[in-house]
Symmetry: C2
Subunit: 252 residues, 2 copies
């Protein structure tokens, strides 16, 4: 019934999927604002939860979906981190995004009706699968679900646009760090320190820089007292200064 997903294990028993945790998880989910508010009637909420399929665990390197596969569902990360990437005709990887728990993946597959990218777990990850036909049917019945779906799509345009801007390595890195810490903070983690799940090469690729450049800029940020770096652990020491650097990218 559940769908065998690419390289990952078949949906094994899910540690995190017990209902006791349900509410807590949903509070950080992309559809949380739809599900949780008392405004939505109970049966509708039940329907939304009904169409969600819990999948995992995926292990580092496993694919949630692959480029070219027919599009059938969008996914919300439930735990762990997932990256999306394309491989262009020349064989070069381009990372499109890093996705934290509660964030959606696969929205860019609606139009081509095939996944235009790979979604790959960076560590042990669990996801929620939203069957797209079921979701749109529900969206037609519940205005809030439709609105939220449209907002999520629209927000993704904005994110891709930010990445497309013409900015220096310093600006990009500052914005990256601030963006990441803000997303972690929204999930209850420290607003100033966090752990980078991904290798430098992935950060560099995502920011369209060389890994050496990322290394050098991080080093300089540290020398300037803006951050403290220890391997993949990062602490932001001077957020205002970073914000000043990133101000041409961050607008909301």
């Amino acid at each position: 019934m559940s769908k065998p997903v690419s390289a990952g294990r078949l949906p094994t028993p899910n540690p995190i999927a017990d209902d006791g945790d349900e509410l807590h998880f949903c509070s950080t989910c992309a559809f949380g604002s739809v599900c949780l508010p008392a405004g939505v009637d109970k049966s509708a909420l039940r329907e939304l939860h009904m169409l969600v399929e819990h999948i995992g665990p995926f292990h580092a390197g496993d694919n949630v979906f692959r480029t070219g596969e027919p599009f059938g569902a969008i996914y919300a990360v439930r735990a762990g981190m997932v990256k999306t990437r394309v491989i262009d005709d020349v064989g070069r990887e381009q990372i499109l995004g890093f996705h934290l728990p509660g964030e959606m993946v696969g929205l860019n597959a609606i139009h081509p009706a095939r996944y235009p990218c790979d979604a790959i777990a960076l560590d042990t990850a669990y996801v929620c699968r939203f069957s797209f036909p079921a979701l749109t049917t529900l969206a037609a019945k519940i205005p809030d679900v439709q609105q939220q779906l449209l907002r999520l799509l629209s927000a993704d345009i904005g994110k891709a646009t930010q990445l497309a801007g013409d900015h220096s390595a310093d600006e990009r890195l500052a914005a990256f760090l601030l963006g990441l810490v803000a997303r972690y903070a929204a999930r209850g983690f420290s607003p100033s320190a966090f752990h980078l799940t991904m290798p430098r090469a992935d950060i560099a690729n995502y920011l369209r820089l060389a890994t050496e450049t990322v290394s050098r800029v991080l080093r300089r940020f540290q020398d300037q007292g803006l951050i403290r770096v220890d391997g993949r652990d990062v602490e932001l020491l001077d957020v205002p200064a970073l914000r000043r650097l990133a101000r041409s990218i961050l607008r909301d």
Copy 2:
């Protein structure tokens, strides 16, 4: 009712805004595939047409909407060309896209609930205004409308993603020319020659290059026999070669 082809100026008076042209126009509109097919029942089609408001003319430099204005509607270009752009905190312009007749503008405003960019006419332009509340209401009733709306959003993610890729000036310019000619061709114009409505500076900005670079690359493309350039008139002479150059960007 002909439209001036490629090099020609766009209709100065208002040849296109009459209702007699309605059907013909819709055939190239982003919602055309929804409106036109006999599959959609007549009353629904009427409803969609009912909620559309024709606006124009806008003249070169006029704003269709402005950054920060509350979001109330999305727009389809009806005639002419519209560019979208943001001005970052440092005062630098970043062009997000050029929009031909039939293409939608403003989809990135759904999430923030404010227009995050300016939409500016590049020449004399007419647009269709789709009230967003009315459109989503209709989308809830007519699955095809909902699907099309979602597809449009999703497609915009893909476009922004292309722009965000890490590519050389040659690749960018080749992809730009091919993309433009393809969109013109889809509207019945020449598949090899067209007129650039926008100045070099706008092209450069859109591609995140300096105008001098655009100038130089176009010159070299011409020297190499790939294109013929005369001011803003462009003819593609060696499409396969251009396609080879752009192959790392174009994937669909």
